[in-house]
Amino acid sequence: MDEELFRQTYSIHGRDFDKAGETAAHIKQILRELGLDAGLVHRAVIIAFEAEMNVVMYADEGTVTFTLTEDALKLEIADQGPGIEDIELALTEGYSTATDQMREMGFGFGMGLPNIRKNSDDFNLVSEVGKGTTVSAMIQLNSSA
C-alpha cells in the first residue's frame, strides 16, 4: 500500500551550521515514538543527517520531507543549490568538492552521498547544474525485521 500515513517537511537553511542536525534529531524522536525497529531508525537518521549537512554546506535553501507509508519510510531532500555536474563521480567514496571551510566542520570528505546510498533500499538522485539537487531515499519497513 502506498497510502501516506505521515508527512512532515522541514526547511533547512544553508550555512546554518549551528542548527544542522536538528532535523535528524527530530525525525529520530518521531520514529522512536512510533516504536520502529532500532536498526531501521539508525539508518534513517544517518540518511537524514548526511542529507541535511549537504544542504547546509552547499545550498542556500532546502527542504527535507519525511513520509511514512505502511511499507516504507521515505526521505526526500531537495535544495536550490549549485547542482551536481557528474553524479557518478559524486557517488564515489572519497570524491568531494568541499571547501576547506566545510572540511573544518567535519564534513565534505566525500562520504556523505555514499553513506546515504549505503543506508537506503532505494536511492535516487536528480540534479541540474545551477538549479538544485533532489535526493530520494527509501527504506523498506520490513527489510530489517
Binding site: 500515513l5 505521515f6 518521531i30 515514538e33 512510533l34 516504536g35 511514512l68 505502511e70 519497513l141
Partner: protein
C-alpha cells in the same frame, strides 16, 4: 488477552474519588471517572502504593483464609524469613514455628538450603553472563512487572534463575510426598508472605508458568494467631520446634538489605530499594548509564522485604531484631553446606517460561494506528495547559492525551477544554459531601444573634 489478576480491590462504595491513589501510582495505572477510581489492569504492577495513599480506606489487599487450604491432606508453611523479625524478642523462632504448627500447619519448611542454592546459581549466572548489563534480580515481583510494563527493552536483563520460595515449594512437596507416601497433589506448600505482590506472583507468575506453591497467607494474617498461641505453648513444644526452625544465619541475612552483596563481593553489585528509587535507576539504565554494574538487586519496598505491606512491625524495629537474632544462630551450619553441595548439580534453576514484555494498550497495533494515535496525542497535548491537575481523571496531561489518542478518554473531560466539566465535577463531588456543622454548633455554642 485475558485480564490480569491483581490482588487489590477498590470498594466502589467507599471510594470518594480522591485523586490520591491516581497520583501515587508509579505506572499511571489509575483513572478516576465519575468520581470513582479504577485500575487499568495492563499497567498495574501490584506495588500497593495506591492502598497506602487512599484516604478513604477504599482499597484493600485481597487475602486468602487458612480454611481455603483445607482440601489438602498435608499443609506445609513456607515462611518468609521476614516473619521471624516481626515478634517481640521473647517470641523466638521456636515459638513462631510452634505457633504455625498450632495454627494447623502440618510442617514448617526452613528454606536456608534453597537460599544458598539460589545464591550460588546467581553467582554462576553472573559470571557466565556476557551482557547486556546489569542483570536484574527477580525476587521482587513488583520489579519484574515494572520491567514488563515500563521498561520492556530490559526484560532480557531479568536474571533467569528461579527464586528460593519456588524451589522450596517444589522440594517440600517432593520430600513430604516420599516421606508420607501420598501424591504431591495432596500437599499444599503455603508461603507466608510479607507482601501482596508475592501472593499474586504465586497465583500468576510473570513467566506465565504454574507456581510450585499453592498460595500465600500474609504475615499479618497469621501474626495474631501465632502470638495468641505462644502464651499456651509448653517449653518442650518450643524446643522441638526450634530444631526444625532456622538452622543458619544465612536465611535471616537474606532479609536484611544487600543480602546478595556478600555473595557477589567480587562483582559489581548494587542494591536499590523503594519503587521511586528503582524507577530512577531504571531510567538511568535505559539511557545507557550504569552499564558497568553486573548485578542489580532491586526491591520495590523501601528497606527491602521487611517493608512489605503485609508486615506488622516497622522496618527499623524488624531490622534491629533480625540483627540480634543473627547473633544467636550459627552463621553457617555444616549440614546446610553439605546439602547445598549434594543438591546443586541436580537442581533445575530455570524459570519455567519466559518473562515477556506486557502488551499494553500502547502496544504494537499496526503502523497506521500508531501514526494516528501519535497525531491525536500531539494535537491534544498542544491544547492542554500542562498543569497535571488531574481533574480529568488522568494523572497527567500526558497520560490524558494518550487516553484520548487510544479512545479511552475524551477531550471534554478536561476543564480547560470544556467549561461545563467543572460544573459536573462540582455536582459529583460537592453533592456527595456531608454538610459540615456550623463552627459554633460544633462546640455547642449557638450563633450570635444577627
Amino acid at each position: 488477552m485475558p485480564e490480569l489478576t491483581h490482588g487489590f480491590k477498590i470498594d466502589r462504595d467507599k471510594c470518594d474519588g480522591h485523586l490520591a491513589c491516581m497520583r501515587a501510582c508509579p505506572t499511571q495505572a489509575v483513572r478516576v471517572r465519575e468520581g470513582k477510581a479504577h485500575v487499568l489492569p495492563d499497567l498495574c504492577v501490584d506495588c500497593g502504593l495506591c492502598l497506602t495513599a487512599c484516604p478513604s480506606g477504599a482499597i484493600r489487599a485481597e487475602t486468602r483464609s487458612f480454611a481455603e487450604f483445607d482440601k489438602f491432606k498435608y499443609k506445609v508453611a513456607v515462611p518468609s524469613p521476614v516473619l521471624f523479625g516481626q515478634f517481640p524478642m521473647a517470641v523466638g523462632p521456636g515459638h513462631i514455628v510452634a505457633g504455625l504448627l498450632g495454627m494447623g500447619f502440618d510442617a514448617v519448611w526452613d528454606f536456608t538450603v534453597e537460599l544458598a542454592l539460589v545464591n550460588r546459581a546467581i553467582l554462576d549466572y553472573v559470571e557466565r553472563w556476557e551482557g547486556p548489563f546489569p542483570l536484574l534480580s527477580v525476587s521482587c515481583p513488583v520489579v519484574v512487572r515494572l520491567v514488563q510494563v515500563l521498561y520492556p527493552s530490559m526484560v532480557d536483563q531479568l536474571i533467569r534463575v528461579q527464586v528460593p520460595r519456588e524451589l522450596a515449594g517444589l522440594e517440600a512437596k517432593q520430600k513430604f510426598s516420599e516421606q508420607l507416601g501420598i501424591p504431591p497433589d495432596d500437599i499444599a506448600a503455603i508461603y507466608i508472605t510479607p507482601c501482596q505482590a508475592k501472593s499474586i506472583s504465586i497465583l500468576k507468575p510473570a513467566e506465565g508458568a504454574k507456581s510450585n506453591l499453592e498460595g500465600a497467607l500474609g504475615i499479618s494474617d497469621v501474626y495474631n494467631n501465632i502470638l495468641a498461641l505462644t502464651h499456651t505453648l509448653q517449653e518442650d513444644q518450643v524446643q522441638l520446634a526450634s530444631n526444625h526452625s532456622i538452622c543458619s544465619g544465612a536465611m535471616l541475612r537474606w532479609t536484611i538489605n544487600e543480602a546478595q552483596g556478600q555473595i557477589l563481593q567480587r562483582h559489581r553489585y548494587m542494591s536499590v530499594t523503594g519503587l521511586a528509587n528503582v524507577i530512577q535507576v531504571f531510567d538511568d539504565i535505559e539511557k545507557g548509564k550504569l552499564r558497568n554494574i553486573e548485578y542489580l538487586e532491586c526491591d520495590a519496598c523501601w528497606g527491602g522485604c521487611i517493608g512489605g505491606n503485609l508486615t506488622v512491625d516497622n522496618i527499623y524495629v524488624t531490622r534491629s531484631k533480625l540483627h540480634r537474632l543473627l547473633a544467636e544462630v550459627p552463621a553457617a551450619a555444616p549440614q546446610v553446606q553439605a546439602e547445598v553441595e549434594r543438591r546443586y548439580p541436580a537442581t533445575d534453576f530455570s524459570l519455567k517460561g519466559r518473562v515477556r514484555r506486557r502488551t499494553t494498550n500502547d502496544g504494537p497495533t499496526d503502523l497506521r494506528e500508531r501514526v494516528r494515535r501519535m497525531k491525536v496525542e500531539e494535537a491534544v497535548t498542544r491544547a492542554l495547559p500542562g498543569l497535571d491537575c488531574g481533574l480529568c481523571g488522568a494523572p497527567s496531561c500526558g497520560a490524558f492525551a494518550k487516553d484520548v489518542a487510544r479512545g479511552t478518554g475524551q477531550r471534554s473531560d478536561c476543564v480547560f477544554l470544556r467549561e461545563g466539566r467543572l460544573r459536573e465535577l462540582k455536582t459529583t463531588y460537592l453533592s456527595r459531601r456531608k454538610k459540615p456543622p456550623e463552627i459554633g454548633e460544633q462546640f455547642g455554642v449557638s450563633p450570635p444573634p444577627a
